[in-house]
Subunit: 465 residues, 2 copies
């Protein structure tokens, strides 16, 4: 009898005080189709994600999560896709102010008559601040939670990115000619050393160093840049093998392909992310894989500038981690990872004349977990798993262009659009909810961008000094 009473009391306590047995978290997203992008590619049809601080605590079936956790705040994701935030592996955010300034031109005219001239006459800290805000605004609206950037005045880029609540791997550009911010390589390296030290412990910003390319940086510059990066354990971002001329110059000058040349000077390593990798052969791919270099494919930019089609299927087969990027708005003309996913899948099918090439699931991986690998950040971001950063996006699936839905990966790659992204969470903080930006003053950014456009157009009309 005594035993029975005890059991009875225990049961009363257990049912009357269920809240005491739940673990408290800050935020739960619940009720959506949770696409984890974990190693087993688990999808919870009615799933939930629990977050505390900037970290994911648990991912699972809705009833499991709700029975184990209670949250200060809950977001209902019913009818939505819940997935890791997209990773834009290569961008020049501030160049959004040049969107559509110079299209359909030869590479030479585009670069020398427009882009370099417009940069020389306009790029100031204020330009970079507003241009980055514009780029970050567009990216967050399209579900991008992390981006890699290469530009000038990168300290401004970092400040604008952090203020928007976005994650960034932000590389100050090193180049062998006077740049808008620094006039010589020693000045650039000094700026970068200071910049890296300032940002290195930031939870959102990873300061990086970005030697522009092998055709704009000498061997000495590349080696000094790599040495600086390795001194501070900062990542290196660089354009590699983008257009045919780069390979021709490299072979003429060094007798080696761009990748083999970079290997010969000790540049390649597990801290390097190489954008483009269009003109790489089997030997280059083997080198990239053996040195654990990440590659970032930019299909829009490569097509629009007629750079070529990167052998993405072969790179992946060789073991190279391949992410996906938008490049800058001057060569795209938007920063839209849904467009890049669609294009990446279709481009490989076309160039290989095989509709089975690069299926949708692989493309979603490129935009998430493999994008994280390409940036050497796969332990922090790229999938929804306990312990990773709470970078989570919610995507509506009720638009006519996305109805019906048979396969979630197909829908993400071939049908859904950036405008379907509903809510964006970075490091546990909601930065966009139901398409309302919470961290950025959108009307002011757009007004400033229009003002800058007038100034930029006038600057190009002015005669050379």
């Amino acid at each position: 009898m005594k035993k029975l009473v005890l059991v009875f009391l225990f049961l009363v306590a257990a049912t009357a005080l269920p809240a005491q047995s739940k673990t408290h978290v800050d935020l739960i997203v619940t009720g959506g189709t949770v696409v984890t992008m974990d190693a087993s590619r688990h999808i919870y049809d009615n799933g939930a994600v629990a977050m505390r601080g900037d970290t994911i605590v648990a991912v699972g079936a809705r009833e499991t999560i709700e029975s184990r956790y209670d949250a200060a705040r809950t977001i209902d994701a019913h009818g939505e896709i819940v997935m890791p935030g997209l990773i834009n592996g290569h961008a020049h955010a501030a160049m959004s102010l040049f969107r559509g300034l110079a299209d359909d031109l030869s590479l030479n005219d585009w670069l020398h008559k427009y882009i370099f001239l417009a940069e020389a006459r306009n790029v100031t800290p204020d330009f970079v601040k507003w241009g980055t805000r514009l780029g970050v605004l567009e990216m967050l609206r399209g579900g991008i939670t992390t981006y890699a950037d290469m530009y000038y005045f990168e300290d401004e880029v970092a400040r604008a990115t952090k203020a928007a609540g976005m994650r960034g791997v932000l590389g100050e550009t090193i180049i062998d000619f006077p740049a808008p911010d620094n006039k010589s390589v020693p000045q650039m390296l000094a700026y970068t050393a200071k910049y890296i030290q300032h940002w290195q412990r930031d939870p959102l910003i990873t300061p990086a160093i970005a030697p522009h390319s092998i055709y704009t940086c000498s061997t000495k510059t590349l080696q000094e840049t790599a040495a600086l990066a390795r001194k501070y354990h900062a990542p290196i971002l660089i354009h590699v093998a983008e257009a045919p001329f780069e390979g021709e110059q490299s072979r003429a000058k060094y007798g080696l392909s761009p990748v083999a040349y970079l290997e010969s000077i000790g540049f390649l390593g597990p801290d390097v992310t190489a954008a483009h990798c269009v003109w790489v052969d089997a030997g280059d791919m083997k080198l990239l894989a053996s040195r654990d270099v990440g590659c970032v494919h930019n299909p829009s930019s490569n097509m629009k500038l007629a750079s070529g089609a990167s052998p993405v299927v072969n790179l992946i087969a060789a073991g190279v981690p391949v992410g996906l990027g938008t490049d800058g708005a001057a060569s795209n003309n938007d920063l839209d990872m849904f467009e890049e996913m669609d294009l990446a899948a279709k481009l490989q099918k076309l160039v290989r004349m095989d509709p089975r090439a690069l299926p949708a699931e692989q493309v979603v991986a490129m935009a998430t977990i493999n994008g994280a690998r390409a940036l050497h950040m796969e332990k922090q971001i790229g999938s929804l798993e306990a312990g990773k950063k709470a970078d989570v996006i919610l995507i509506r699936t009720d638009a006519p262009h996305a109805t019906p839905m048979y396969n979630v990966y197909s829908q993400l790659v071939y049908a859904l659009q950036a405008s379907d992204v509903d809510t964006v969470i970075v490091g546990g903080k909601i930065v966009m909810q139901h398409r309302q930006m919470l961290t950025l003053d959108e009307p002011r950014i757009l007004a400033k961008a229009r003002d800058y456009a007038k100034k930029i157009q006038a600057s190009l009309a002015a005669p050379a000094k």
Copy 2:
């Protein structure tokens, strides 16, 4: 003195009674950037379009139009692009119910294990009604005001299209195997004759006849089809030279390319619109131009199915009118002309390795006036000009991804999206205003599409009878 008094009185009358001197119209769209796509490519920065009934009465500068016309209804287009409705030159609207059902497969598996099977087991008049409604809903939302369709039960397609207030060139499919609607070619031809006669005087619907292709129709079928079309002066829609196997079969069987074979049997003429035209040589292009055949380029579908890249720049140079199409959602997977414009421009640049190939203005022409030419409807649609049908769309330009704007054609092709379309007018009637559909019950269509998806999936799981 008398003369002066008369002049004075005239001036008083002219300023005091301006309203009496104005011509009455039904609708004026005013204040936007009016991109006419007329022969001189005139753009009015602050323009207006006046419409009466289903026809455009005048296009011009805002103050000119407002001083000459008054309207029962005015739409303020300030800050928007005002342009002719987009023309989707090739689609299978009802196949939207198969969106994403079968992706990343070999052509053989895709067609035989999924699409043909799903069609045989599901395509009924009700399927076509709801599938067409879904497709038309997506297309109107994305600024498409005219589309060309090839499917079965085309009478249902016509009814759904007309009810939505959309313009269509709608072709009943003729094919040498039992179709969901008619089991033999004589039955198909009899159905089509009746269908054409029923719809031929409709203001929105142009009934057409659609022999599927040279590899699914015998010479006899093609000739009988052409004869029927010519008896009723109805347009002919056909797939031509889409994939390599078609040319191989044609050369083996007839000793001729697909285009030369069609010429040899008297099929080609100024009433034919040929979808795809991927595998056409210089001789084929000359033939197509000399017979005034219109071609429709479908870049998404051609890439996704690995069909190849149509030589669009060469076709245009040969004098062939080239439009742009989405193909069906089973091979795309959306019906989005903004995506097709972006892709068309980028694909030509890539395959020609020339960033100057197919500039933005030419691509906008493909989606409007040249699309009309490809459908032999350039006298009625494709540009904003007095006397043409009042098919007008308004596009917002204030999204972050479309800010700033330097060039309106660049923005349309490379940055703006279907979701930026704000208001759609077809034949003078507003079918979508501020993204609210006025002619379609969107929630009901989406619910029906989801129901059908379950049915379709179950049908594929069932064993063969």
